[in-house]
């Protein structure tokens, strides 16, 4: 039976007025909460003109923050990419006891708040921490130095690649790889020529999500960084310092770089979704 045959078919659908009212509410909410904040970053960044904008970004402290952010997120994303691939391979290609537990444990860092994520590294590597005395006597600094920032970023962005890959590879099944194996391909060849081409979009999306979070992480990094200008400040920390000094134009200029990363992430998601039909609902 089609809609038109039902006697009170009109009652099924909402009236046009209700429909447009709902659309209006949704768009107003999205504008007030999402569009305006994004727009305000750009407007405030250019409030004092291009010259101030460029000067704020070319400031030595800002440049060093950019370098540190790229370094820390580069290391964190590469290691977590390696982990994501290996975890997804183990979980989706084999069956073993405790597999579901392993999948749940991978998500654990998402349940730990950013500040607590930083705190655990203070407890490990701080002067009164487990390894603090030993590190101090060997003149190795982790906390309030670059290694601490890398570790905190690693922890916070830990699940991102694995979370994208695991459901995708599980849904794909093992058929193609088994066929390659039967045809005599080596392990490396199977991975490179069968698995990798199949998972490339999902992998790319995981890497983009992981990078965006790595570059933007604030709470955890703030706790372990020590806020040493030109040495242990990442971009988000640089934004905080400039803002707290009432140097708003500079703060928003640096913030605009981070917003750019966010916009690139969102666009990439849309494009990749179109390419691979990646499921919505996970991010």
């Amino acid at each position: 039976m089609t809609t038109s045959q039902i006697p009170n078919a009109k009652r099924v659908r909402e009236s046009a007025i209700a429909r447009w009212l709902l659309i209006l509410i949704a768009l107003l909410f999205l504008t007030a909460f999402l569009v305006l904040p994004l727009a305000s970053v750009l407007v405030e960044a250019f409030a004092k003109g291009w010259q101030t904008y460029l000067d704020s970004i070319r400031d030595p402290d800002a440049l060093s923050a950019i370098r540190l952010t790229l370094l820390a997120s580069g290391i964190a994303v590469s290691l977590n990419l390696l982990f994501g691939l290996s975890a997804a391979w183990a979980v989706s290609r084999f069956s073993f006891k405790g597999k579901n537990l392993l999948i749940s444990l991978i998500d654990l860092p998402l349940a730990v708040s950013p500040v607590v994520s930083g705190l655990i590294f203070v407890l490990l590597f701080g002067l009164h921490g487990w390894f603090g005395k030993w590190l101090d006597s060997h003149n190795i600094s982790i906390l309030f130095a670059v290694p601490g920032i890398v570790l905190a970023t690693l922890f916070v962005t830990f699940p991102f690649v694995a979370r994208e890959l695991i459901p995708f590879m599980q849904a794909q099944g093992t058929g193609e790889e088994e066929a390659a194996l039967v045809l005599g391909a080596s392990a490396w060849r199977i991975f490179l020529f069968v698995t990798l081409p199949n998972i490339r979009w999902s992998l790319l999306y995981g890497v983009i999500l992981c990078s965006a979070r790595a570059m933007g992480e604030f709470g955890a990094v703030s706790v372990v960084s020590g806020h040493i200008r030109g040495a242990t400040n990442t971009l988000p920390l640089q934004v905080e310092i400039l803002y707290n000094e009432y140097n708003f134009a500079a703060a928003f200029s640096v913030a605009s770089l981070l917003s750019l990363i966010a916009v690139v992430t969102l666009s990439a998601k849309k494009i990749i979704e179109g390419k691979a039909g990646i499921q919505k609902g996970r991010a």
């Binding site: 007030a32 982990f83 069956s95 706790v223």
Partner: protein, 309 residues
């Protein structure tokens, strides 16, 4: 409960026609795949599982066990004194209260946004859909200063609210606002796929049985979406509990009034009070792990509903 019952009754004929066979088929397939996979014919099992478990232990377990063991060394009286002091209690009230209000606002508007995105066509829909994820992608510190500048008494929105006597920046309203911002995508992305999967036919059946639009919504659609909505609400709430970056700029951080628990942990650390910071952190950690269990339960329920469809 009565409402959810009627939803199930309507889908029974369908379930009997297709669901029975499909479920049996799926079960049989799952069983055969399991048998096929058991030996694990593909190479790389040892090395991939070994690396996964080692890396997980080093990056996640070792650090997390530090906080548990540190908490265990605290004296009970000292622990209680820290986590139940009036300033800390005030911060729990604010953090849990504002997170609850923020997640509720997200649940309400997130439902509308998900509905509109799943059901209607309108200009700018693709952009609106992409924008929903902005709070995931935008660094929290940037969100914090952007919201503060918008709602400051001279900001784009604040200048209209200020004459009305509504101050957002440096008040609890500001805390709720920031937590609403960061929680929105959790609700939309939980609810949207469920609404998309909800066939129009269910509504048509409901109408043909004499229900009007409101009854169809309240007794057919809403019960079906409810588990996903609760999941989204809980995800948003859990995220809000630990939020730091977006709140500290807009809240003004006044002790007993607009100081959130995350900030208290940071200020304890800045005073080198590791024991105090750990005590408060362990309370937050236990709450978020508790919520994680709730979320897992809810997601299992959502899946059960989807399987039934």
């Amino acid at each position: 409960m009565g409402a959810s019952f009627s939803a199930r009754e309507i889908s029974i004929p369908e379930a009997e026609q297709f669901g029975g066979v499909a479920t049996r088929f799926a079960r049989a397939r799952r069983r055969s795949r399991f048998r096929l996979k058991k030996p694990g014919v593909l190479p790389g099992f040892g090395i991939s599982l070994g690396f996964t478990v080692t890396y997980l232990s080093l990056i996640v377990f070792l650090p997390l066990s530090a906080i548990l063991l540190k908490t265990a060394t605290l004296h009970w009286a000292q622990f209680l004194e820290t986590v139940a002091s009036s300033r800390v209690m005030a911060s729990y009230r604010l953090t849990f209260g504002a997170s609850f209000v923020g997640a509720s606002i997200d649940a309400l508007f997130g439902f509308v946004i998900a509905w509109v995105l799943a059901r209607y066509q309108f200009p700018g829909k693709r952009i609106a859909d992409a924008l929903v994820d902005l709070p995931f992608a935008l660094p929290t510190a940037v969100a914090g200063i952007a919201l503060t500048s918008l709602y400051a008494p001279n900001g784009w929105i604040g200048r209209y609210l200020h004459p009305l006597g509504i101050d957002v920046v440096f008040t609890r309203i500001g805390v709720v606002l920031a937590l609403t911002f960061i929680g929105l995508p959790f609700v939309v992305r939980s609810v949207q796929p469920v609404i998309e999967d909800l066939g129009r036919d269910v509504e048509e059946v409901s109408a043909s049985l004499g229900a009007n639009a409101w009854q169809t919504f309240a007794r057919v659609i809403f019960p079906a979406v409810l588990p996903a909505l609760l999941t989204g609400f809980t995800l948003a709430f859990a995220r809000a509990l630990g939020e730091y970056g977006s709140v500290i700029f807009i809240s003004g951080n006044m002790p007993m009034h607009t100081e959130i628990t995350s900030l208290l942990i940071v200020s304890k650390l800045e005073q080198f009070d590791y024991a105090g910071a750990t005590a408060i952190a362990s309370v937050m950690l236990v709450s978020s792990f508790g919520l994680l269990l709730v979320i897992n339960g809810l997601q299992a329920r959502t899946r059960k509903f989807e399987d039934k469809q």
